[in-house]
């Protein structure tokens, strides 16, 4: 198992804030909008540097999506900012008609995704957003794993032509990817080569997958670990090449089991390479209040859950 270490922990939303500032420095057409959550989205540095390119919308997310669509008419590259819940479900039709169906170059920056929003509870913890966004034809869906990758992803999506859903979160998590990494949209990142099982993780579950790989190594299991930061378009070649080698897969995500990364993998495999698959995901339920750590443990989104799923899927592979 390849060794992964980290010297600091940070929130992915701060990676977005740093990336937005850098993207704005690189291209004067980058603008940002926010629905009364500037501090939560870490947009303060951008606003200080480029006050004329920031639009405070107020608590009016539907209007924000429409204004973002309009700003692209005139060549702007707008980033909208609010919590993932208010970035998707609340404004689905505005995103669908005014942005994606209209081919608008809008970047939807969604913070506080999933359970790790924590104490605010289920009203704010969306676990369906990946599914909602990936169902839109032409939408790109990205869920980076740490501060550095979120920063790199933000800079990359500003250069990408077309609508993007960029999902990140609130909790402090290890920063283990390279500061100067190249972020290629739609390209899987191989974290560890192995032969027994493929673990495919996204977002906050990527670090948990690395920890699970270390535990599995102690059990004599050689896991291949893939970080899928781009859920759509999916890097099918990388997934199929790995699973052809290992013959079974565990997917891990901070999302509902229905409609997330796991379903994207299952759809690919059903058609091209049916193998046993186990899901580490929320089992079709809402969340609740608690600390991020407590919630991830209670809902089975951690390294232990990944290890247990690997043992299950290996048993199924042997039976096959």
């Amino acid at each position: 198992m390849k060794k992964y270490t980290y010297s600091e922990s940070k929130d992915t939303r701060s990676g977005f804030g740093a990336g937005l500032l850098e993207a704005a420095r690189q291209n004067k057409n980058v603008v940002a909008l926010c629905a009364d959550l500037v501090g939560s989205l870490k947009m303060n540095d951008f606003i200080k540097a480029y006050p004329d390119r920031f639009f405070q919308i107020g608590i009016a997310e539907a209007n924000m999506m429409g204004i973002a669509a309009g700003l692209t008419i005139g060549g702007k590259i707008p980033f909208t900012g609010t919590f993932a819940n208010f970035s998707t479900g609340r404004v689905y039709d505005q995103i669908r008609q005014s942005i994606v169906y209209s081919d608008k170059n809008v970047k939807i920056a969604a913070s506080h995704a999933g359970l790790t929003l924590g104490e605010d509870g289920a009203t704010h913890q969306i676990l369906e957003d990946i599914g909602l966004m990936k169902m839109l034809p032409g939408m790109t869906v990205i869920n980076p794993c740490d501060y550095n990758q979120t920063k790199a992803a933000t800079i990359a999506v500003a250069k990408h032509q077309g609508p993007v859903y960029l999902r990140f979160g609130r909790p402090i998590v290890p920063v283990f990817t390279a500061e100067d990494q190249e972020f290629v949209i739609g390209k899987a990142v191989l974290l560890n080569s192995g032969v027994d099982v493929t673990i495919i993780a996204t977002g906050h579950l990527v670090w948990e997958a690395i920890r699970a790989g270390e535990e599995l190594e102690k059990l004599g299991i050689d896991a291949e670990i893939i970080n899928i930061h781009t859920i759509k378009p999916l890097d099918k070649e990388a997934v199929l090449a790995s699973i052809e080698k290992t013959g079974c897969v565990v997917t891990a995500e901070e999302h509902n089991r229905i409609g997330g990364l796991g379903d994207s993998i299952a759809q690919l495999l059903t058609k091209q390479m049916p193998v046993p698959q186990e899901y580490v995901a929320v089992d079709d339920s809402f969340g609740e209040s608690g600390t991020p750590r407590e919630l991830m443990d209670k809902y089975g989104l951690n390294a232990d859950a990944i290890v247990a799923s690997v043992l299950r899927v290996l048993k199924r592979k042997q039976l096959k």
Binding site: V31, I57, G58, G66, I67, T72, I73
Partner: protein, 283 residues
């Protein structure tokens, strides 16, 4: 004195009415009522009031922009765009048919020149127009953005989010227009969900309001819109409440909401076309 004489504009309006009726009849679907009622407005905008570039570009820099928020009146939009030279007039025959660029509701998706955003699901156009107006400000582009909404559409909450935003941000390069015909699919707006005192509502939201009483008279429409143009750059968005008649120009369609979304049959089409003689040549 206008670029085009009122007489010429009236001739275009009459041909647009014929186009609307024939398009809706040919596919036996679509929305003739509101389309007929807005013929004078769209002809006035595209043939007289707006500064437009010769070649269409989605970004529309250096020209005035128009957004149709109530996308269901696509027949009048398509007819006026074709007659203004954005795409071949013959293409009007493909309206609502398979593989056409003239979808039931306007879209950029099939690449039809003249369209800058999809509309149909109501309440979204004002926000988009505000965004485009913000982009014009950033680009130091001194042109105007127009947007048309239905009056029933004002029942959508997003419109009022946008209304609040536009006045707070002093969007004075924006002219919004409401097709104030008092009717929607299920009946009179007063019966379905009252709009209340619309002029005062918009004023209370910080907008300057221009009321045009005779929205189916080309001269009145142009005079009203010119007045609105003269009020731009004064730190407030402008609302034009345009009183129109659904189905205007066809005797059996006027004065009723029943032709909001119903196509005429052969005999009805013949009667309607007799009331609107060919002026520029049918498609």
């Amino acid at each position: 004195m206008t670029k085009n004489s009122i007489h010429n504009l009236e001739a275009i309006v009459q041909q647009v009415r014929r186009d609307i009726l024939r398009m809706v009849h040919a596919c036996q679907s679509g929305h003739p009522g509101g389309s007929l009622g807005c013929a004078e407005l769209l002809v006035g905008l595209y043939f007289e009031l707006m500064q437009r570039n010769e070649h269409f570009d989605v970004n529309g820099e250096g020209e005035d922009l128009f957004f149709l928020s109530n996308g269901h009146i696509s027949p009048v939009f398509y007819s006026v765009l074709a007659r203004a030279g954005y795409f071949p007039i013959s293409e009007l025959a493909t309206f609502r048919k398979l593989s056409s660029r003239l979808q039931g509701h306007p879209t950029t998706h099939e690449g039809l020149p003249g369209i800058r955003v999809a509309s149909g699901s109501l309440g979204q156009g004002l926000s988009v127009a505000i965004g485009a107006a913000q982009a014009k400000r950033l680009n130091k582009d001194n042109h105007l953005v127009y947007v048309l909404m239905g009056d029933g559409e004002l029942q959508e909450g997003q419109v009022w989010e946008a209304a609040m935003y536009a006045s707070h941000n002093k969007m004075d390069n924006l002219i919004a227009i409401v097709d104030y015909n008092g009717a929607q699919i299920d009946g009179a707006t007063n019966d379905v969900l009252s709009l209340g005192d619309l002029p005062h509502k918009w004023m209370a939201f910080g907008w300057k309001v221009v009321e045009v009483r005779r929205g189916n008279d080309v001269g009145s429409v142009i005079a009203g819109l010119r007045r609105a143009q003269s009020m731009t750059a004064e730190k407030a968005p402008i609302m034009v409440l345009l009183h129109t008649e659904m189905g205007n120009g066809v005797d059996f369609m006027m004065g009723s909401h029943k032709w909001h979304g119903v196509a005429p049959n052969d005999a009805q089409l013949e009667s309607a076309l007799r009331q609107n003689a060919e002026t520029l040549g049918d498609y």
